[in-house]
């Protein structure tokens, strides 16, 4: 597989993020696949922002070790990232600012003069760099100009042309000064339909697909863009999006609207989720469907808001006082995020309980190019399943209580839509009888605990999905075990290990994290294989979950907890350090 990494860096507030998403779109519209990931500080101005776009001729969802083209909007970008350059790497910079001293092909471009000549201010450097990049990679400038037109559509014709002018200037400067350095990386290929979406975009699309009509949230990185996206769509799709005063209000808005029959979800990160857990327990006993989008970031507490980690797993699994069933999913990539987001609403309705969809900053804010066809297929397959929700029921002459918490064999009781003529019941945060009145009776309590717990067996029987196995378990000398957003990095490592080190490895990858079915899983781990746990945290929380559920302990661990994502080259470095490979 051909891959080429283009990376742009500069000060926060200089449109690094915007340049990245424009470039990703450019790659997709030029007929290629891209994966991009931004690293930025928790600041509005200053500090270092850097975004890399991996271009490939097949679907790609992970970062590569080397940078093939580094666009330096300031000297700091070169200092911080030159270590990943190789001799053929292109370095675009402005010699008026600094002079790169290491390996690579230096391409100086007078950003400042171009900008001042054409009356643009410094913050336009990124647009000039985009034009120059398109030229250097043999791309079509008109595709870039088209994207800029859409990007600034809301800002009017003048702003559009202003930006196009600087893109054009960068493009022409390269053609005129560096004709020999033009590469054939992005020569236009017929563009079969592709989309560029972030993990958060995928979740937002899943919300629409599932006909969820109420979303409430309180802004918190890295979940905020779901709030923004859905807020911009709400009138068009007939849903209500509510920025409430705090996270406790957010989840209780959703509990109220879900009780009243509307599919509802909330979004937050670890700290906001921590404020919600009393109400997660409330939804547990009141048996109210609820989807919770938890986009993790390094904790504890405020931690590192704009970086990534898988540090909230056991907190999410055991969240809420007392005992009640909940389902925890962790999509492994952007497409699965869309599928599991929509699936989460079915599971929440079927099991009438909270369903947590775990993401992290890496999956939430990275963009991936996906063939539109794959998403269309997924969307067509998806069927809404509202479980035992009853929308109308024959009434008797006298109004009577509906048995909302009826004891049933599968642990799930029929749920009448509130407002239905002739009945009434309450969603009760106290322990309750079948007719939902409060009780403290020992036998009634025991019956309701056992009924709620039966939902776990029913889920394991009907909806639990075993982990996916990649590679051949039999032949593999080493078997990676992981969950959530690490998948693509591990698969890339598996490919590299096979090609460069002739080492056969495999991966057991979990997306359905809790509850786990012990009997089904034990067989996967009884091979006398070298199992290797890969997690983006320091306490191997999923490893602990496996030993809790299966009683097996995976000794070998590759753990990363510095706020940066698991990558194929991080895995390979760790194997080298441990002497598994040269």
């Amino acid at each position: 597989m051909m891959t080429f990494t283009w990376k742009i860096g500069g000060e926060a507030g200089f449109g690094i993020n915007a340049a990245g998403s424009i470039f990703s779109k450019f790659v997709a519209r030029s007929g290629y696949y891209a994966f991009d990931y931004i690293e930025y500080p928790s600041l509005i101005r200053g500090g270092h922002n850097a975004l890399e776009v991996v271009i490939a001729d097949e679907e790609i969802g992970t970062l590569r070790e080397k940078i093939d083209f580094l666009v330096c909007l300031n000297a700091e970008t070169y200092q911080k990232h030159s270590v990943r350059l190789h001799e053929k790497s292109l370095i675009l910079y402005d010699q008026a600012e600094f002079q790169p001293n290491g390996t690579g092909i230096k391409i100086t471009l007078p950003f400042k003069t171009i900008l001042s000549d054409l009356g643009g201010d410094l913050v336009m450097k990124n647009t000039v760099a985009l034009g120059a990049s398109v030229a250097l990679l043999g791309g079509e400038i008109k595709i870039l100009l088209e994207i800029l037109k859409e990007q600034f559509a809301k800002k009017g014709e003048r702003v559009i042309q202003f930006n196009q002018k600087f893109a054009q200037a960068g493009y022409e400067y390269i053609l005129n000064h560096y004709p020999t350095l033009i590469h054939r990386i992005l020569t236009y290929k017929k563009n079969n339909n592709k989309v560029v979406i972030s993990g958060n975009d995928a979740f937002s699309l899943g919300v629409v697909l599932a006909d969820c009509r109420f979303y409430s949230a309180y802004p918190m990185t890295p979940s905020s863009s779901v709030l923004h996206t859905l807020a911009s769509w709400q009138e068009k799709i007939g849903m209500v999006v509510r920025h409430a005063e705090d996270e406790i209000s957010v989840i209780n808005h959703a509990i109220g609207s879900s009780f009243a029959g509307v599919r509802s979800a909330v979004g937050t990160s670890g700290g906001g989720f921590a404020l919600m857990v009393e109400s997660v327990s409330f939804a547990g006993i009141a048996e109210i469907p609820l989807v919770i989008f938890l986009a993790q970031r390094p904790g504890p507490a405020t931690g590192m808001p704009t970086w990534t980690e898988q540090g909230d797993l056991l907190f999410a699994i055991f969240a809420g006082h007392g005992e009640f069933p909940k389902i925890v999913l962790a999509p492994s990539d952007h497409l699965e995020m869309l599928r599991l987001a929509a699936e989460a609403f079915n599971l929440a309705d079927i099991y009438q309980t909270p369903v947590i969809v775990l993401s992290d900053m890496f999956l939430s804010e990275s963009h991936r190019t996906i063939d539109e066809e794959k998403i269309r297929k997924l969307a067509h397959q998806y069927q809404i399943d509202r479980g035992k929700l009853i929308k109308n029921l024959e009434r008797t002459e006298k109004i009577k209580p509906f048995l909302r918490y009826q004891i049933t064999e599968d642990g799930i009781s029929p749920c009448l839509l509130p407002g239905t003529d002739g009945f009434f019941y309450q969603a009760n945060s106290y322990e309750h009888l079948e007719d939902s009145h409060t009780t403290e009776e020992a036998l009634e309590r025991k019956k309701q605990v056992e009924k709620r717990n039966r939902k776990i067996q029913t889920y394991l029987k009907n909806h639990f999905q075993t982990p996916k196995v990649y590679g051949n378990l039999e032949h593999a000398s080493m078997v990676f075990v992981s969950w959530g957003s690490n998948k693509e990095a591990i698969l890339a490592a598996i490919r590299d290990l096979e090609e460069k080190n002739n080492l056969k490895t495999a991966l057991i990858h979990f997306s359905y994290l809790y509850p786990l079915d012990k009997n089904v899983l034990l067989s996967l781990f009884d091979k006398n294989k070298q199992y290797l746990l890969v997690e983006n945290n320091s306490l191997s929380q999923f490893g602990n979950l496996l030993s809790m559920t299966l009683g097996i302990e995976i000794e070998r661990k590759i753990l990363r907890y510095d706020g940066r994502p698991i990558t194929s080259y991080f895995i390979i470095d760790e194997l080298k350090k441990n002497g598994d490979i040269k």
């Binding site: 339909n193 068009k236 009780f259 109004i399 309450q426």
Partner: protein, 285 residues
């Protein structure tokens, strides 16, 4: 047409003589007189002796967490704005644990009626002071007298924009029924602060105390006069208790300002899901 007995759930377990009896009956009467019935009204109960009305009043209901009844009620209203939505809460519930939600619900003029049992104590947890307790009040958690001065719910809600503020007295149910009816008929946020003697734990604010200091607002009182309402609300600080509709003004409700809900309630929105999905997907090309 529902009857009182339709609304009657369990026999109440409130202490004999407690003001909650009066509030429970008054609310049921108000609902019956306004032609509501248990199946077309949603009542969200907080946690406290007040919240224990959940078992005594039949309705589609949520027995919420302590302090969280208001956001639940807002969520219900957004999902189905055709349902009359009421929150029945205590003063510890609404002016202590959940003060945040009260203020920001007021800002949105959400069309819910919040009925507060103002008894200045935490009844159900055996009598500790509530945020409305007079400074110096002794209780199990403040044996030398509470240092904090009381919160004033009337000035709090008036200055932050509540469009209906009423004050009632649990000992005057006929007046309370009429007040509840006005609050329930008000389109927008309505707060009804009901002076409710707790005969077991509050020996200061007794029926007698309120009879001496409470007075019905005069017939010619103009509830739309903000500055008059402010004057009346400030009287609470000096232990005077005006009874009736203290302030009322008409403003668009939260749900009325949502274009998405123009034709029908959110819960009844017809599904053009897949069609919309593919339109949105295109914007990512």
């Amino acid at each position: 047409m529902a009857t009182l007995s339709d609304f009657n759930g369990y026999q109440p377990t409130w202490c004999p003589g407690c003001g909650d009896w009066g509030i429970g009956i008054a609310l049921k009467m108000a609902l019956v007189q306004l032609n509501y019935s248990p199946d077309n009204v949603v009542v969200v109960f907080g946690i406290g002796c007040s919240g224990n009305m959940n078992d005594f009043l039949n309705a589609y209901a949520i027995h919420s967490l302590h302090g969280r009844a208001i956001p639940n009620a807002i969520g219900v209203k957004i999902a189905n704005h055709r349902l009359k939505t009421i929150a029945v809460v205590g003063d510890g519930d609404c002016y202590g644990e959940g003060t945040n939600h009260l203020i920001h619900a007021i800002r949105g003029n959400h069309d819910i009626t919040v009925i507060v049992h103002h008894n200045s104590v935490y009844g159900l947890t055996t009598g500790q002071v509530a945020p409305t307790a007079p400074k110096g009040m002794k209780s199990k958690s403040t044996p030398s007298g509470i240092i904090d001065q009381p919160l004033n719910p009337l000035t709090l809600s008036l200055t932050q924009g509540a469009t209906f503020i009423g004050q009632g007295f649990a000992g005057d149910t006929p007046h309370l029924i009429e007040l509840l009816k006005k609050g329930l008929q008000h389109e927008g946020f309505s707060l009804i602060n009901i002076l409710q003697p707790c005969v077991t734990f509050n020996k200061i604010n007794t029926y007698q105390y309120y009879r001496e200091r409470g007075y019905r607002l005069p017939k010619d009182y103009d509830p739309s006069n903000y500055h008059l309402a402010l004057k009346k609300s400030l009287e609470l600080d000096d232990g005077k208790y005006p009874l009736g509709v203290i302030y009322q003004v008409k403003k668009p409700t939260f749900t009325n300002q949502l274009t998405q809900l123009k034709e029908r309630p959110l819960v009844e929105n017809e599904e053009r899901r897949k069609e919309i999905f593919f339109q949105l997907l295109n914007t990512f090309k």
